[in-house]
Amino acid sequence: MRTTRRTTALVAGAAAALLTLTACGGDADPLAQDAGDDGEEMSSDTIVVGSQAYYSNEIIAEIYAQALEADGFTVERNYSIGQRDAYMPALEAGEVQVFPEYTGNLLQYYDPETTATTADDVYAELSDALPDTLAVLDQSPATDQDSYNVTAEFAESNGLTTIGDLADLDGLTLGGPAELEERPYGPEGLADVYGADVAFEATGDTTVQDLVAGTVDVANVFSADPRIQTEDLVTLEDPEGLFLASNVVPLVSSDVADQVADVINPVSAALTPEGLVDLNVQSTEEQRSSEDIAADWLSENGIG
């Protein structure tokens, strides 16, 4: 009988664990992470620059940091703070004061129901949606947003240039992260906006490899992904604005916005979409540190 008793204990244990797990339910976000702040106050002439745990974002943050330093600010770097849920509380509390962000994704964080998709609409709505403690400086022409891509070969043999051209093809499979299926620009959006019917296949971290290997025909890749260049992919144009425009934008604390605007706005203006891809290539292909990449970029563009 020993085994049966053990099983009963196991079932009871599992049930107890579940109850504990659900007890913290309610409205709270059970996955929310502590931003890791220690409530430490910064002196007013020190600017804290933060970044996401994303190499491309860190390069932009490093460019901001070096530009600020060149202008005489004391900069403290707080990189790789994780994803939006983790760092936004720290920004709203003023513990991090300058942060490279992306207009569309940030707007979606504050207003998940937004219908704006073009760059200017998104920027305008974002400025309104931000809490009083935060402000955005000028947006950059550089974007890092979702895009649909096919291999150059596939584009050529089927005469594809825009997403709408997909509507003429049958039996296509769309690959991307699992959540793409539920996004407004996912399979449903493709059918509604462009009349293209596609099957969906979750490809996780290997989306680009899957596209190249041919297990999927169309893939959701970030527009600044260096592999669009290195793997010879073609990004399909999006004339109907299926995707939310997501330009690089500096998110700053309102109380330092005026101080840093003169330094950072020229940086944003000089950062082009191609320039951003180039920065990413230097990181992923040439394995250079974000510090070196940022220093070179600033001197090439005559800033700082």
């Binding site: 579940l18 339910g25 992260p177 699992a178 099957a199 296949e201 290997t206 290997a213």
Partner: protein
Amino acid sequence: MELFAEALAWIFSSDAQSGSLPLSEAIATHLAFTFVSVLIAAAIAVPAGWVVGHTGRGREAAVALSGAARAVPSFGLVLLLVLVFGVTHKVGASTTAFVLLAIPPILAGAYSGVEAVDRRVVDGARAVGMTPRQVLGRVEIPLGLPLLIGGLRSATLQVVATVTLAGYVGSWGLGFYIVQGIQIRDFAQILGAALVIVVLAVLLDLLFALLERAVVPRGVRARHETSS
């Protein structure tokens, strides 16, 4: 409790039954990954474990291997094998990772089961004229079966929980809902899928508990009952 109720509601909702991966298909692929992986692992580890237990040779290696393999991070292994095998062989790559995960407990169950047989019983079997092969086949293996089933049981539980990771590389298994749910912040879906995994694990565990009792040889059971 609200989230718990929402999770249960998700399991029976039409949302879960539609989409690119209906729930029934997710359960089917989840169990298929589990059974195929455990079967392949058993085909390798059971004979190996019996030989190790019977001869005592290679015991050190088996102990070291089953200990070390437990420390292998399964998530890393799945992704690594997908990259090594190539994205066209994701199913094979994931299965290989789960097989590697299932081998240590089965190996341990197989050799310790044979090893744990009372030496006097083995001597007795030899004394009545059994060949080494007969000692293994008629004495050591039957008497060691409960421990072997125990090994299969823990391997199955470990694999059924770990197959969740397959959701990171493709549209398979219940892990798909968890991976998707985290990104779209659908906690009912995450917990719902997790609950289904828990139910599968508990059911499989019950099944093995019954099997473990059923394989105790009649003579051994009779002795246990009289002595306790």
